[in-house]
């Protein structure tokens, strides 16, 4: 259950951290969770909700892009607007558009490129991990996700925000 963090911080336990993201963020971060597997989507949603996140789920990359306002029929509609979401967490292996391709599209957008994107995968493939990190993924997480992974993610996001 290894995950790589861009800034070289492999995290450690943070005994003093509050478990509740609302306290940390002062609001509920809105997370977009993308996964074609229904069971995994249900699980990640619960994990995030348990950490006081507002969650929107999408079953594929296209739906995710539409939600974000980057759909093919929504060109330039995002000019000068603020991102709806504070974090995108996406599965890597999806039919049609992979998580990597979704990551690239988000990073190419002037409005959305600052939104942290986390990639999840059931397969621990170093070249895949590096490819995602190089493209700007904030973190890479191995499935199946546990509550402790989401806590670690939250701690990392806090650092990223400050």
């Amino acid at each position: 259950m290894l995950y790589q963090i861009m800034d070289g911080d492999y995290g450690g336990s943070c005994g003093g951290c509050s478990e509740d993201m609302t306290v940390e963020f002062g609001y509920e971060p809105h997370v977009l969770a993308v996964d074609d597997n229904l069971i995994d989507r249900t699980l990640v949603e619960k994990l995030l909700k348990n950490s006081s996140c507002k969650v929107t789920t999408a079953e594929n990359g296209l739906r995710a892009l539409e939600f974000l306002g980057l759909g093919s029929d929504q060109r330039n509609s995002l000019e000068g607007t603020v991102s709806k979401v504070n974090l995108v967490i996406t599965d890597y292996c999806m039919p049609g558009m992979t998580g990597y391709e979704l990551l690239k599209k988000i990073k190419e957008s002037s409005v959305l490129k600052e939104v942290p994107v986390v990639i999840m995968s059931s397969e621990n493939i170093p070249t895949r991990i590096n490819q995602c990190l190089e493209e700007g993924a904030q973190m890479f997480m191995l499935k199946p996700l546990k509550q402790s992974d989401v806590k670690q993610l939250k701690r990392h996001l806090m650092k990223y925000r400050s």
């Binding site: 597997n37 069971i39 699980l43 619960k46 059931s122 546990k146």
Partner: protein, 153 residues
């Protein structure tokens, strides 16, 4: 049956499922996600898994009956099944899926058919076990409160 016996039966049965490799750590994670707001979370997710797996197993059977077998498609289905079984902690199902994917890569139809049979078998085993487990499931906290009021003078 009194409350203590009920609790013991549940725990013993669950422990045996871990020992026999039917369930792994991930199932524990699922249980930890359950709370008062979602008292049936585990049953809901496991039911989703049962429904989704039935669909996948049927698709796999159909795909393997074809004249020209589409191994990519089969692999995609097995990947899904591997993912969901892993997510709920159905370890034995997951293990067969790993072998299944290897046979797909080799385009070995015999191996694939054998694995389909195995995965069907493991799937029905874990389904039966989980159904039994939930029949003796621990009552939720509210129920324990009322039960203990009745049981203890």
């Amino acid at each position: 049956m009194d409350l203590v016996q009920l609790q013991r039966q549940f725990v013993d049965y669950k422990t045996s499922l871990y020992h026999e490799g039917f369930l792994d750590e991930q199932f524990t994670q699922l249980q930890e996600l359950q709370d008062e707001n979602n008292p049936d979370f585990v049953v809901e997710v496991v039911s989703l898994f049962f429904e989704d797996s039935e669909r996948l197993l049927n698709e796999l059977a159909r795909a393997l009956e074809q004249q020209n077998i589409d191994y990519k498609r089969i692999d995609a289905h097995v990947h899904q099944l591997k993912g969901s079984s892993s997510s709920i902690g159905a370890q034995r199902v997951q293990k067969v899926c790993i072998a299944f994917r290897n046979y797909c890569e080799e385009q070995n139809v015999e191996g694939c058919l054998k694995c389909l049979q195995q995965v069907r078998h493991e799937y029905s085993l874990v389904k039966t076990k989980l159904e039994s487990l939930f029949q003796v499931r621990l009552p939720c906290r509210r129920e324990i409160f009322f039960l203990s009021k009745k049981v203890l003078p």
